[in-house]
């Protein structure tokens, strides 16, 4: 029996930028990108599910994000997570990796005892790979990053294969430990139809409050209890719930600031056009030989 926590993130789907999100000036309209569960986090959940399938235990998924990040938590419930927690507060906006890891580590402490924390190696919107190690540091637990495979799990020891430069190494880690997984570590399972039927109705506190708005017959507290009793309540935590230090959250808690952003706009032209003929290519090769670029 292992108690797992999986850290997940909702990200804009930057990998699939199609024509309709490109603006006329050649930049990307972020708002038009679909929001998805970061793929490596989905793989992390799959690895956690395999541990649960084999050894038993529980899986709690945790995300910090805006209210609509509840979408990815429901997806995690469809895959097989037991509990979901949304950490959401306007005061978390603009957090860099240090402020994010502070909030996540405090939320993990609040969730309670755990054996393994799983996370994707990095999220596709920032590609920093920093939040996993920073959360481990704040929790005072060791880390195994770039995980390719869990080789064995016995009692309080995890044996894992991780990528290193030019190869791999096998390490033995004492639990509790935080691992970050690579995309090839496991093929994520599809959603279970039965679980989808059940958990499509799972709601966060904000979503429940929205249901009661304008309906005098519904009371948020009563409704929340109903969702809780049917196991459809997505635990929702704010800065106050977690008793966090405001100076370490969001923009205030972020030492790094974005000073300037420039869209990448392609400069046209500038290159010499070479005709795709024998003569054209011949002349190019002459030129390169004269310049001692080709010998």
């Amino acid at each position: 029996m292992y108690r797992s926590i999986v850290l997940v993130k909702q990200v804009p789907d930057t990998a699939n930028i199609t024509g309709n999100v490109m603006q006329e000036d050649g930049t990307v309209n972020r708002a038009k990108l679909p929001a998805i569960l970061n793929h490596e986090d989905r793989v992390a959940l799959e690895v956690a599910l395999r541990v649960k399938d084999r050894f038993g235990g529980t899986i709690t998924v945790v995300t910090m994000g805006p209210p609509r990040a509840s979408d990815i938590l429901r997806e995690c419930l469809y895959m097989g997570a037991d509990h979901a927690v949304l950490i959401s507060d306007r005061k978390f906006a603009g957090a860099d990796t240090l402020a994010t890891s502070y909030v996540l580590s405090e939320a993990v402490k609040r969730i309670g005892a755990y054996d393994i924390i799983f996370a994707g190696r990095q999220a596709i919107d920032g590609d920093t790979a920093q939040v996993g190690p920073q959360t481990a540091e704040k929790l005072g637990v060791p880390q195994v990053t770039y995980l390719e495979e869990i080789v064995d799990l016995q009692e309080r020891t995890l044996t894992a294969k991780r990528k290193i430069e030019g190869g791999y190494e096998v390490v033995r880690a004492a639990l509790p430990v935080l691992v970050t997984v690579l995309k090839d570590a496991a093929e994520p399972r599809p959603y279970s139809a039965r679980r989808m039927m059940t958990y499509k109705g799972a709601r966060t506190l904000m979503e429940i409050e929205k249901l009661t708005e304008g309906n005098p017959l519904l009371y948020a507290d009563a409704l929340r209890h109903e969702y809780e009793s049917r196991d459809l309540f997505i635990d929702t935590l704010t800065m106050d719930d977690l008793k966090l230090d405001a100076d370490r959250c969001g923009v205030h808690g972020s030492p790094t600031k974005v000073y300037k952003v420039e869209s990448v706009v392609l400069a046209g032209g500038g290159h010499a056009i070479v005709e795709p003929t024998r003569d054209g290519i011949g002349a190019l090769i002459d030129r390169l030989m004269e310049d001692h670029i080709l010998g």
Partner: protein, 340 residues
């Protein structure tokens, strides 16, 4: 006692099995410029066992001082002892800047140290500069501008760490240029004591397998690269044919790697290798920014593509619009004729 080394630049020197990583010397060359711009010293931070010769290389690349921790327990990189040791040094000596390679080791170590010291950390910078900055109506002298592509490579962001004493950044291998100095002096080697603690052994290395890559894209003077536009593995053979004729190395875009045309260790781009050869020939590569980021510093670039609007032409010196299946054989034939 805390000493403040207000303007010092540190570079973490990464070694694997006693062999220092190229990226560490690239960072020392960059760090030399940053330190000079701030009037500070450049310090190499080196952990390992029996690695004293590496210190000479560090001085040859501009370091004024090496902080050296030499202990059998530090022979191989492990997160816990390395991060504990480096965290202690940063707290005690307060450098202004700490640079790491954006390698697996650097990306494992840097966030751990940044978290413990509550420093700002920016990943995968493609350029670093020192400048006086006005941010939110306050003026900050000599800040580190940390420039990196963001948001899937569609924007370039400049990140600053205005209010924290220590600014940390990681940089990918091949992005900065290595400049060994012709005239250099042996600097100071400051031994750093290491006392084992039980937390250091929470993760133990059971075995390690490393294959020396025979691919040397970074050292190649000519690279012929193919992309997804070639369509099939059979067509991709043309890339090898041209490379063979020119005595060049073969490379590919991420799409070519994903399609199985070429092995991953030959990928050029933001998530692959950054190269700057004398000549780069891109065949059937559309030129997404992630690819361009890895090759646009090449001395001369030839693009061959059937789409005249392909972004690759924007970074090229010579553009050939046409079907690679016709253009490349002509290129090989013409080159062979010139050599006769």
């Amino acid at each position: 006692m805390t000493t403040t080394n207000g303007n010092d630049v540190w570079v973490f020197i990464e070694q694997r099995g006693g062999v220092p990583a190229d990226v560490s010397f690239e960072l020392l060359s960059k760090g030399r410029k940053l330190a000079s711009a701030m009037g500070g010293r450049l310090t190499a931070v080196l952990f390992g066992n029996g690695i004293a010769d590496v210190t000479r290389e560090a001085f040859r690349h501009g370091a004024d001082e090496t902080l050296l921790a030499d202990h059998p327990a530090l022979r191989q990189y492990r997160t816990m002892p390395y991060s504990r040791l480096l965290t202690g040094l940063v707290r005690e000596r307060q450098p202004r800047i700490v640079l790491f390679g954006a390698t697996i080791i650097g990306r494992d170590l840097a966030p751990r140290v940044a978290s413990a010291t509550r420093s700002g950390l920016t990943a995968d910078c493609t350029d670093l500069q020192i400048a006086d900055v006005t941010y939110l109506r306050k003026t900050y002298p000599q800040l580190l501008l940390q420039i990196r592509p963001a948001f899937g490579g569609n924007i370039v962001a400049t990140i600053i760490t205005p209010d924290n004493p220590v600014q940390m950044a990681t940089v990918r291998e091949g992005v900065m240029e290595k400049h060994p100095l012709t005239e250099w002096t042996e600097g100071t080697v400051t031994p750093v004591p290491y006392t084992p603690e039980s937390v250091d052994d929470l993760v133990a290395i059971v075995e390690q397998h490393r294959e020396e890559s025979r691919v040397n894209l970074k050292g190649a003077s000519i690279i012929v690269a193919g992309g997804y536009g070639l369509g099939t593995r059979e067509n991709f053979a043309l890339v090898y044919d041209l490379a063979h004729a020119l005595g060049a190395e073969v490379a590919g875009s991420r799409a070519a790697v994903d399609a199985g045309f070429i092995p991953p260790e030959r990928q050029v781009g933001q998530t692959g290798v950054t190269v700057r050869p004398k000549l780069y020939i891109a065949i059937g590569i559309s030129g997404a920014i992630q690819h361009r980021a890895g090759m646009q510093e090449s001395n001369k670039i030839i693009a061959i593509n059937s789409d005249p609007d392909a972004p690759i032409f924007s970074v090229s010196h010579y553009g050939i619009v046409g079907d690679a299946m016709e253009v490349v054989p002509k290129f090989i034939e013409a080159y062979k004729n010139k050599l006769k």
